[in-house]
């Protein structure tokens, strides 16, 4: 315990990085569970003050188009599968995980690329941009956000960085195994390979933490309408008015 990096000896007997220390998996897992429980307790304590929640009744406006919802859920599914199959051998589950892992990885990679393309050209890319002035938002209850509020943007960009990191390192790792597309060469220098494994491991840990946090907030009672909107696509005008600034975001009405 207490180590972040595992080392091994390379073929010459010299010490090189092997990867992340998987003890950290338990550390991260415990830390995130404690944090979220603490958050839940604090929120429960504060709950009396703002009992009034916006209603989901009334006119509906479009928050997520169906294609984007598909993107979201497929990415979510592939990430969960990747986390499960990646973690299974570490925690001692004997399953044939590798093929599922790289297939999910490929799916995630294509989804991410497609999402980047769509977000750049078809979606309102600016709505997700995190500007310096946004950092004042959490401290000023008078300031209402556009389509996404500060924490959502923060989560999105954190996930972006981490997912891109797992993808890049994952693709490099994918090239080290046999696949239907190539026979591996196994010729990457061991120190570089170790670095790739380390980055993949670290981003995995971050992803586990982010995924847990994301799922937690998605299930929070005051946020669950966002989750509903990710399933059904709409939110109510009341919810919009309570949480967003129409000047910054004017969605069209839902059918």
């Amino acid at each position: 315990m207490g180590e972040i990096v595992r080392f091994k000896r390379d073929v010459w007997g010299e010490e090189v990085i092997l990867g992340v220390s998987w003890d950290l998996l338990y550390v991260v897992f415990m830390a995130i569970v404690i944090l979220l429980i603490a958050h839940a307790i604090v929120m429960a304590a504060l709950a009396k003050k703002n009992l009034e929640r916006p209603t989901g009744e009334g006119r509906r406006i479009v928050r997520h188009e169906s294609i984007d919802r598909w993107f979201h859920w497929l990415m979510a599914a592939s990430i969960l599968v990747l986390i499960f199959t990646g973690v299974a051998p570490i925690i001692g589950l004997r399953i044939a995980w590798l093929d599922i892992h790289w297939i999910s990885g490929l799916i995630l990679t294509f989804l991410v690329i497609a999402h980047i393309v769509r977000a750049s050209f078809w979606q309102d890319f600016k709505s997700m941009l995190l500007m310096p002035k946004d950092f004042a938002e959490p401290f000023d209850s008078a300031r209402k956000p556009g389509k996404y509020y500060f924490e959502q943007k923060g989560m999105h960009w954190a996930v972006t960085v981490v997912v891109l990191a797992v993808i890049v390192t994952g693709v490099l790792m994918f090239m080290q195994i046999d696949s239907p597309f190539w026979e591996r060469t196994n010729s990457m220098p061991e120190d570089q390979l170790g670095l790739v494994f380390l980055l993949h491991g670290l981003s995995t840990l971050a992803l586990v933490a982010l995924a847990a946090t994301h799922i937690y907030f998605a299930l929070r009672p005051e946020k669950i309408f966002y989750t509903r909107s990710m399933i059904s696509g709409w939110m109510s005008e009341d919810e919009l008015a309570a949480n967003h600034d129409p000047a910054k975001w004017s969605p069209k009405e839902a059918d």
């Binding site: 091994k8 000896r9 390379d10 073929v11 010459w12 007997g13 092997l18 990867g19 051998p89 004997r94 399953i95 044939a96 995980w97 590798l98 093929d99 080290q176 195994i177 046999d178 591996r184 060469t185 196994n186 010729s187 061991e190 390979l193 170790g194 494994f197």
Partner: protein, 331 residues
């Protein structure tokens, strides 16, 4: 320092439990730090090389309950610490399950068979020389396979089922036991479980660090062979670079039930081509109802190696395996 040559036993504790309960207790208490010792013929090399460094050995060969061959209601039971010589020479095994007697009698060398145990032969580690060398490869918990690298020497490695690691099972008795539909009796402080020989071995896709399903604290205590294949027609052949000591390049263990000219049912299992004994179920199905002849053998030869993915230096194993399967079928 990898290349410095060690050949002396390092400091390590030795426990010689005299009864089952003590042995199981020790195995559970010491966990990964306790090395289960049968005849030790696959143990001392690891220890002398300092490539495995447990802190204690638990010698199982003093436990009479796990030794010997007994007839049961529906077959025989062989204690896991019975020596290979005893198995090869046992009249009951010779007469009823000659396949196993033959396999046990061709392992390594006479002296090794004299102390080597059935259990040890079944759970012995792979012979991949990079892994044996103490390199931190996938199987040793690392992130690379040296055997399957551009200049890796892999003529003794896998044709099938490689998943990052390309090591193969080295056992001669394992294919025989899979062919005989044997089951493995696994004991621990929390009780006993019995699993089919075929499921006892595990490939790198499911567990890259272990070759069997044995968990920490578990001991393989016996092997049960049902009478299903008793007195069947058997064929065993092992091809190795040397007749003595050496491990199989490919071995084949087969059992046939015939009625008249035709094969009613068969088991054909090859060793040293995959990390686990490879049962050729397609071939078994294809030869049902046909005679044990050249034409049957030739008809299924390609099927025997269908899906093989040879490495740089083990292409020869494909025709070798085909020929062994053909010979087994021809009888």
């Amino acid at each position: 320092m990898v290349a410095t040559s060690h050949d002396v036993m390092p400091d390590i504790e030795l426990y010689q439990p005299a009864d089952e309960a003590t042995a199981l207790d020790l195995a559970s208490r010491l966990g990964n730090e306790g090395w289960l010792l049968g005849g030790g013929q696959d143990t001392y090399g690891w220890l002398k090389d300092r490539n495995k460094n447990p802190s204690a050995m638990i010698e199982l060969t003093q436990i009479d309950a796990w030794k010997g061959i007994t007839e049961t209601v529906d077959g025989i039971e062989i204690g896991a610490v019975t020596t290979l010589t005893d198995i090869a020479r046992d009249p009951l095994i010779q007469s009823r399950f000659g396949l196993l007697a033959e396999a046990a009698g061709i392992v390594a060398s006479p002296q090794i068979r004299n102390v080597g145990t059935l259990g040890g032969n079944l759970i012995q580690d792979t012979r991949c020389w990079y892994y044996r060398r103490g390199l931190d490869c996938y199987r040793a918990g690392g992130n690379i396979c040296y055997a399957d690298s551009p200049e890796g020497l892999n003529r003794e490695h896998a044709l099938f089922g490689a998943s990052r690691c390309v090591a193969v099972t080295p056992s001669d008795t394992a294919p025989a036991l899979v062919a005989l539909d044997a089951t493995m009796v696994i004991s621990s402080t929390s009780g006993q479980r019995e699993i089919p020989a075929q499921d006892f071995f595990v490939g790198p896709d499911r567990d890259i660090l272990n070759m069997t399903v044995l968990n920490e604290g578990e001991i393989l205590t016996a092997v049960r062979i049902p009478n299903t294949w008793a007195n069947a027609e058997f064929y065993f052949e092992k091809v190795a670079d040397r007749n003595v000591w050496d491990f199989a390049l490919v071995n084949v263990a087969a059992a046939f039930r015939t009625s008249g000219e035709n094969i009613e049912d068969a088991r054909i299992v090859c060793g040293a081509v995959e990390c686990v004994p490879r049962r050729l179920q397609d071939v078994e199905a294809a030869i049902r109802g046909r005679s044990r002849s050249d034409s049957t053998a030739n008809a299924v030869a390609d099927m025997a190696t269908a899906g093989a993915r040879p490495l740089n230096y083990n292409n020869f194993k494909v025709p070798l395996m085909q020929n062994l399967v053909k010979r087994a079928i021809r009888g």
